[in-house]
């Protein structure tokens, strides 16, 4: 039967019309119901996805305490406070400690480590101005080693890399809940997702004001809006939002919705990254956890909800302050806080960013990349993972402070203020490859371009240890060899002439190899490097850990190869580690929500260069800081600590580098402009002071490995390379050479040396 014939079966036209209309209405209702069901699905999935995707918690390395550990009494005090231990009677319960001078009684909390779940424990610790002097258990017995809780440094969704500090309901204070509801949605506890009364009130207010002065959105509606980040103010969208809000309310509790809101709401923008949630907001704006914010600080965050960029406390401090004080007033008038509290909080300055808290975006960036590198994506999508990193909070804050102080000083000294110098620092433990600290730029609290990982810059003279290692590998050179530092011109493959120069434009003539390295002489290095072969040097760089083959130009001998600070650290691990490359890693272990490791951790070392040759290079690098371009280190750390190191300055002083290691730390510092313009700074002027400042507060131990049996240490004259002794020359330095190497003796010194030996 066709439609026409079906219609003909209906008796009268009016009845026909009625039927058609009813049909249309019926279909519309069905369609609407279908739409609501669809929206219900969408929002429920979204909400549940967020609710159950508990982010992974990320921890720093725990501080190990043992007799001799370099943790002073004051360090320990600071560490305990950083871990939120409170001064008080330890008998009260876990989380309290009592200090009397260098004696600490601690009631440590129950804590999950990579390898064990340790119950709450009472322990007595003794420390002085040097370090830990004793540890004893509650029964008085000695404890050989004890670790503090690992510091929680953030949360991350390992797959999409978004970092959040997700709060559980227990972590959201009643005061914050009350304050938030007062400001944003007073009838939150009573409505069903949409509040007709407040909509009417908003419409009325807007009509009177002649503009949109109030939004009638409930917290639930705002939450929905946040999920689908779309600011279009159309009727259709509003309706969709309202339907979804009502569906959410029907399916989830007020508690779940409020906590989700607190974790989701947008509080600002940090470069490419949106700051979501109050947990991250607290860290971002104040550098401390939400639980430690006072009411004024909480009021600032609550005020930001209405317009994070309009009320941005950094860019518009006046607006932000007015907004904060308005929020405080409202809270006082609704008795959430007292008039007195509001007054006191209103008088306070706006932003007090106390750094030293647990927010390290550049390090977290490395953690995310290493998770991707070392773990299967499927494993990382599980809920409630714990990620244990190698971060050393003390090294991290030393590096942050040193870089920020150093760059502030350098920038202040510049006449041209059109751009600010930037920098990066990476600190590692060279034996194990643990990355201890990463600072990606001047404003280290913000996530932006991570120069430590992504700025590939010309390394300049940092390449020289690899050139000198290559030279020793030929067997034709020792630290005492005589090199010629004199001008030369080379015809390159493309027909151009290349005439390298020393930085100071001087020529040194005949010099010892150790002198050439210590003073970073370009001419001597190029002449030797050409003899050794550019290809050999390129091979050495790859062997030491560079993951690509550099272009084979003679300028490679002077560091015409671009590397990131992190790559330089990787390359230097083999030098700091007796010829063993230690694979850098920022993640030690990932545990699932049951405390079971996803995969076992391995320190990985690989022999890439001969230990005895590396020892000889390192021994020469010591002279860089004792007498050469890196002398500033000795001025800062004292000459008792041996530090093999190298300065680096690229063409036109575009990059200022310093790389060096002690017995305990390997650190690389880079300083330069993002747009690659000239800095006017050598490695010694720009990067070195920041390096020394970083290491200075870390109690570095001297570089002092046992010399391999195949080498011996000899006194030679720094300038000539002739064998001598301090009694025969006031220019004597110690170098390492192959045992039994036949070296010429300084004329007139033989007798003196013989006497010295027999005496």
């Amino acid at each position: 039967m066709t439609t026409r014939s079906w219609l003909k079966a209906i008796p009268t036209p009016s009845t026909r019309l009625l039927l058609v209309i009813t049909g249309i209405i019926g279909l519309s209702i069905l369609g609407f119901i279908g739409w609501v069901i669809y929206l219900d699905r969408v929002i429920t999935n979204e909400f549940q996805g967020r609710l159950w995707s508990v982010p992974a918690r990320v921890y720093a390395a725990p501080l190990e305490l043992y007799v001799g550990a370099p943790t002073t009494a004051d360090d320990l005090d600071m560490e305990l406070r950083r871990l939120h231990y409170q001064p008080g009677d330890p008998a009260t319960g876990p989380g309290f400690f009592r200090r009397r001078n260098g004696d600490f009684e601690l009631h440590a909390r129950r804590v999950q480590f990579i390898d064990e779940l340790r119950p709450a424990t009472r322990i007595t610790l003794h420390a002085n101005a040097e370090g830990i002097t004793g540890l004893s258990a509650a029964d008085g017995s000695d404890v050989p080693v004890f670790r503090l809780d690992p510091l929680m440094v953030g949360s991350v969704f390992p797959i999409h890399g978004e970092d959040r500090i997700i709060l559980t309901p227990a972590e959201v204070s009643p005061q914050l809940r009350a304050a938030l509801k007062t400001i944003e949605d007073r009838r939150f506890d009573d409505h069903h997702g949409v509040d007709p009364r407040s909509i009417v009130r908003a419409v009325w207010a807007n009509l009177r004001a002649g503009r949109i002065a109030q939004g009638g959105s409930t917290l639930t509606q705002q939450l929905v809006k946040n999920y689908f980040l779309n600011d279009a103010q159309t009727f259709g969208r509003k309706l969709k939002e309202a339907v979804m809000a009502m569906r959410l309310e029907a399916r989830f509790s007020k508690e779940e919705i409020l906590v989700a809101y607190i974790n989701e709401v947008s509080l600002g923008q940090d470069g490419q990254r949106a700051i979501h949630g109050f947990g991250l907001g607290a860290e971002f704006y104040f550098g401390k956890p939400l639980s430690e914010l006072d009411i004024g600080e909480q009021a600032l965050l609550i005020g930001l909800v209405r317009g994070p960029s309009f009320y941005d406390p950094v860019r518009h401090p006046d607006r932000a302050k007015a907004r904060r004080n308005l929020v405080l007033q409202e809270l006082a008038s609704t008795n959430v806080i007292s008039e007195e509290e509001a007054k006191r909080a209103s008088a306070k300055p706006l932003l007090v960013r106390s750094r030293g808290g647990g927010y390290f975006p550049a390090f977290m960036d490395l953690v995310r990349r290493h998770l991707k590198r070392d773990y299967a994506e499927a494993d990382l999508s599980a809920a409630g993972l714990s990620i244990y990193t190698t971060l050393d909070p003390k090294a991290q804050s030393s590096a942050e402070q040193a870089l920020s102080r150093g760059l502030a000083r350098l920038n202040a000294a510049r006449r041209d203020k059109s751009a600010l110098l930037e920098g990066a620092v990476v600190v590692a433990e060279p034996q194990s490859g643990d990355v201890l600290a990463v600072v990606g730029g001047r404003d280290f609290g913000r996530e932006e371009f991570n120069r430590a990982l992504d700025a590939r810059r010309s390394i300049g003279s940092l390449v020289k240890p690899a050139v000198y290692l290559s030279a020793l590998e030929t067997g034709r050179y020792t630290a005492a060899s005589v090199l010629l530092d004199a001008p030369l011109e080379l015809k390159l493959g493309d027909g151009t002439l290349w005439a390298p120069q020393n930085y100071t434009r001087e020529e040194f003539g005949s010099v010892s190899m150790v002198h050439a390295l210590a003073e970073s002489m370009n001419l001597a290095t190029v002449r030797m490097g050409l003899d050794v072969g550019v290809e050999h040097v390129a091979d050495t760089l790859v062997k030491l850990g560079l993951d690509r083959r550099p272009a084979l130009n003679p300028s490679l001998l002077l560091g015409a190869v671009e590397m990131t600070p992190l790559e330089v650290v990787q390359m230097y691990t083999a030098l700091a580690n007796g010829g063993f490359k230690a694979r850098l890693h920022a993640v030690r272990a990932v545990l699932d929500d049951q405390g079971k490791p996803l995969k076992s951790f391995k320190v990985e070392v690989e022999a890439v260069a001969s230990p005895e040759l590396v020892y000889q290079v390192d021994r020469m690098m010591v002279q860089v800081t004792q007498r050469g371009t890196g002398r500033g280190v000795t001025a800062k750390l004292g000459s008792k600590i041996l530090v093999p190191a190298k300065t680096g300055t690229s063409q036109d002083t575009r990059d200022s580098w310093f790389a060096g290691f002690t017995g305990s730390h390997l650190a690389v510092v880079w300083v330069g402009f993002d747009d690659n313009r000239s800095t006017g700074l050598t490695g010694a002027l720009g990067a070195l002071p920041i390096w020394a400042d970083t290491l200075g507060s870390l109690r570095p131990s001297s570089w002092e490995p046992a010399p391999p049996p195949e080498v011996e240490e000899r006194w030679i004259e720094f300038s000539t390379g002739l064998v001598t002794g301090p009694s025969c020359s006031n220019d004597a330095v110690i170098v390492a050479v192959p045992r039994g190497a036949n070296l010429p003796t300084k004329p007139g010194c033989a007798a003196a040396l013989m006497r010295a030996g027999i005496e």
Binding site: A69, Q431, V605, A706, P709, E713
Partner: protein, 193 residues
């Protein structure tokens, strides 16, 4: 392992001179490279720190100097660096004991974590790298066992006992990697006894 402060104490010098004399005699007997102008280093006073390790206590000194590596001729140019002795500190000692009991219980990942803790405390102690090499052997990871043993050798080459322990770990690693000739050659070294 803070053993490298320069030492000018009398017993140290006595040992050093004794060693030098022994070496000189040895080279007189079998080597034509003797050059009398050469003299021991380690001058009495220094303006810069010296990395030559402290001489051992007389009781710990070997009766004969450690043999020089086969590849290099023994010359009287310098005394061999005095031997060091390695010990674990109480903290790492307790962690190694813990790792051993974990290995006995078959908890290899736990043992790895425990040794990793110890390494973080004393990263340059060759004894810990020997422990790590042994653990890698238990895990059948010949490549890492070899690397760790070589690392231990490089760090502890001056302590005869440590050297031989590291050498044996390396031999086992080479066998696991089916590199029998290298293993045998190593085993034949006099310092492996």
């Amino acid at each position: 392992m803070k053993t490298s402060t320069p030492s000018a104490d009398a017993p140290g010098n006595v040992v050093r001179i004794a060693l030098t004399n022994a070496l000189m005699l040895a080279s007189l007997a079998g080597c034509s490279l003797l050059q009398p102008t050469r003299s021991p280093v380690a001058p009495p006073e220094r303006t810069i720190p010296n990395p030559i390790p402290e001489a051992p206590k007389p009781s710990a000194a070997p009766a004969t100097p450690p043999p020089a590596p086969a590849a290099l001729p023994a010359t009287p140019t310098a005394p061999p660096p005095p031997a060091r002795e390695y010990h674990l500190n109480p903290a790492t000692q307790s962690l190694v004991a813990q790792a051993h009991s974990q290995i006995a219980r078959g908890e290899l990942p736990g043992a790895a974590t425990t040794l990793d803790r110890a390494l973080r405390i004393e990263p340059q102690n060759p004894l810990l790298w020997i422990e790590l090499a042994r653990l890698r052997l238990t895990e059948n990871d010949g490549r890492q066992a070899e690397s760790c043993a070589r690392k231990a050798l490089a760090l502890g080459g001056l302590d005869p006992q440590t050297r031989s322990k590291a050498g044996h770990a390396l031999v086992d690693a080479l066998r696991l990697l089916h590199r029998e000739p290298e293993a045998r050659e190593l085993e034949a070294q006099p310092w492996m006894k």
